[in-house]
């Protein structure tokens, strides 16, 4: 039987498994992840107040529940010789086909003086924190009353919306009360969101801005709209902005700045101002927190760069026969969940074609991994975590996520968790 391993259980890995089930019937597919829980950014990126988007996970669940795909959690793909990890060559000796769908979890840092000051935080870290990712759940960022967001993509708008929402707007979400309480306690008064592009070329989708218009306690102001000129007045982005209520006596004032290039961040113990270049003039915004939302990069630099440099067809994700890359890891930190679906279908077709020419082997897949690694988790382990999260959720929330890796592993293993709330 052909053994296929997909490393990374995010949307691209899951969509690829779906497509491979059709393109390579009879193959066995395992999806591996460093966490004991699947679904990548669907669980840990997509905003907690966008449960409709998170519902795509139900579709992925079917892979493991009905379609015979294996989930192997708590296994990290790492560099050769690194302790506690699985190397690529080990993985390739266990599987005929290996696909890397590791995503790009690291925030691209602002390349500015002052970027290392306390109070400067990456949007990925912040959204992981709100989503209770075990890597970033513990530290509560100190927000303050004035927030500057650098970047104007959809992730930046997610951050803006979550910071600006009132506690009651999180009903029906899975944002833990500790997060909504913390945001409310900060008493945010102003949010400035800045991008280099003119408004009609900003990276957000107009629907993301339209959603903001529904929050009555926010008022909006705009700087640099003139960059868009008269020619593009009917642009969907400009129209969405024009429909936002103006800043008058609102509780939170949001200012969009277009054509603003960040130059430096200043402060002594903590960031206290962010400086921008606007058409040659310096804009200085006093602030308590700077959130950078300017993209993502790989957390395993040597691996990704080397593999992509030698790739046979990097655009499609063909590294070399038998080794492939998918999703953000292959294409960079752009594109929505559905884009990964289309790309996965194209890659699956290519893998099926390559398999026709690969020599027949008798690799043992998961059995080989189990012999070499301890502490692996499985799909039933995730189902135990899932059940515990659903059972523990309180008023107004649809789930209470387990945010601690040790607790997750305990639950996954089916051992009783010595947690005060589960002792009743």
């Amino acid at each position: 039987m052909i053994q296929i391993a997909i490393v990374g259980a995010g949307p691209s890995g899951c969509y690829l498994a779906q497509a491979l089930l059709k393109a390579v019937p009879g193959a066995h597919i395992d999806i591996l992840d460093r966490l004991p829980v699947p679904f990548g950014l669907v669980r840990y990126g997509v905003a907690p107040d966008h449960q409709g988007t998170k519902a795509v996970a139900r579709q992925f669940a079917r892979l493991f529940e009905k379609q015979g795909v294996g989930f192997i959690g708590n296994v990290t793909l790492g560099q050769e010789g690194e302790g506690g990890t699985l190397s690529l060559s080990e993985l390739q000796s266990a599987y005929d086909v290996v696909v890397l769908a590791l995503g790009l979890p690291k925030d691209r840092a602002l390349p500015l003086p002052g970027a290392a000051l306390p109070g400067v935080i990456g949007a990925g870290q912040l959204t992981r924190h709100w989503n209770d990712h075990p890597d970033d759940s513990a530290s509560l960022p100190d927000l303050g009353r004035r927030v500057v967001i650098v970047g104007q993509g959809n992730v930046a708008i997610d951050v803006l919306r979550i910071l600006a929402k009132r506690a009651e707007h999180f009903d029906g979400s899975d944002l833990a009360h500790r997060h909504s309480d913390h945001i409310a306690a900060a008493g945010i008064e102003s949010i400035d969101i800045l991008g280099r592009s003119p408004a009609h070329e900003a990276k957000f989708d107009p629907v993301m801005v339209k959603e903001l218009a529904k929050l009555p306690h926010m008022g909006f102001a705009f700087e640099g709209l003139a960059h868009s000129g008269a020619a593009s007045q009917d642009d969907a982005r400009l129209e969405a902005l024009a429909n936002l209520p103006a800043a008058a006596d609102h509780d939170i004032r949001v200012t969009f700045h277009f054509g603003a290039t960040p130059t430096r961040l200043t402060g002594t113990d903590r960031v206290s101002a962010a400086q921008f270049d606007c058409d040659g003039a310096e804009l200085s915004l006093p602030c308590d927190t700077v959130v950078s939302a300017i993209g993502f990069e790989t957390h395993v630099p040597g691996l990704r760069d080397d593999l992509l440099a030698g790739a046979e067809d990097a655009a499609l994700g063909v590294l070399r026969p038998g080794l492939y890359a998918a999703g953000w890891f292959a294409r960079g930190p752009r594109g929505t969940i559905p884009e990964n679906r289309q790309a996965a279908q194209a890659l699956a077709a290519r893998i099926a074609q390559d398999l026709g020419t690969l020599p027949k082997t008798s690799k043992t897949g998961a059995a080989a991994l189990a012999a070499r690694l301890s502490g692996l988790t499985d799909y039933a382990g995730w189902q135990r975590i899932d059940a515990a999260e659903l059972a523990a959720c309180d008023a107004g929330r649809v789930r209470a996520k387990v945010a601690d890796l040790t607790d997750m592993l305990t639950l996954a293993a089916g051992r009783a968790q010595d947690h005060p709330e589960t002792e009743t």
């Binding site: 969509y15 449960q51 139900r58 107009p206 629907v207 679906r341």
Partner: protein, 153 residues
Amino acid sequence: MKIALLYGTETGTTEMLCEDLEGHLGGDHEVEMADLGDTDPTSLDGDSLHLILCSTYGDGELPATAQPFAQALIDAGADLSGIRFAIFGLGDSTYETFNEGSQKLAELLVKHGAKQVGDRTTYDAMSGDMPEDSAFPWAEERIAEAEPLFAAS
């Protein structure tokens, strides 16, 4: 009864729902399932009830696989007057353009002469309900409504 189960999808939810529906209806009916993206609008079959399921994407647009179908229908100027269909939409009420994709598709089919059986039913991904809980009854009701129409012809 002969049923053509057609879906337009972007993130795959509608396809999965159709697979469930195929399993649900398959015992009692002759069901054929296809992606709208692989369907030629001029080859729809007048002997089948078309059960169409379609999501919404972007800002109220048709999802990826329904777009080529809609374009082909417009380009061919196809006459669908012998075709009967019922439609189920998937959307998310976070968006102001809630379920406009299925609405646009229904209007387009009617404009080309197809006859709609019963009202469009919509599902809201924000509701937390499972789409099959409303899609299965929808399909059964529309089939019951359509049965006399097909028996008569």
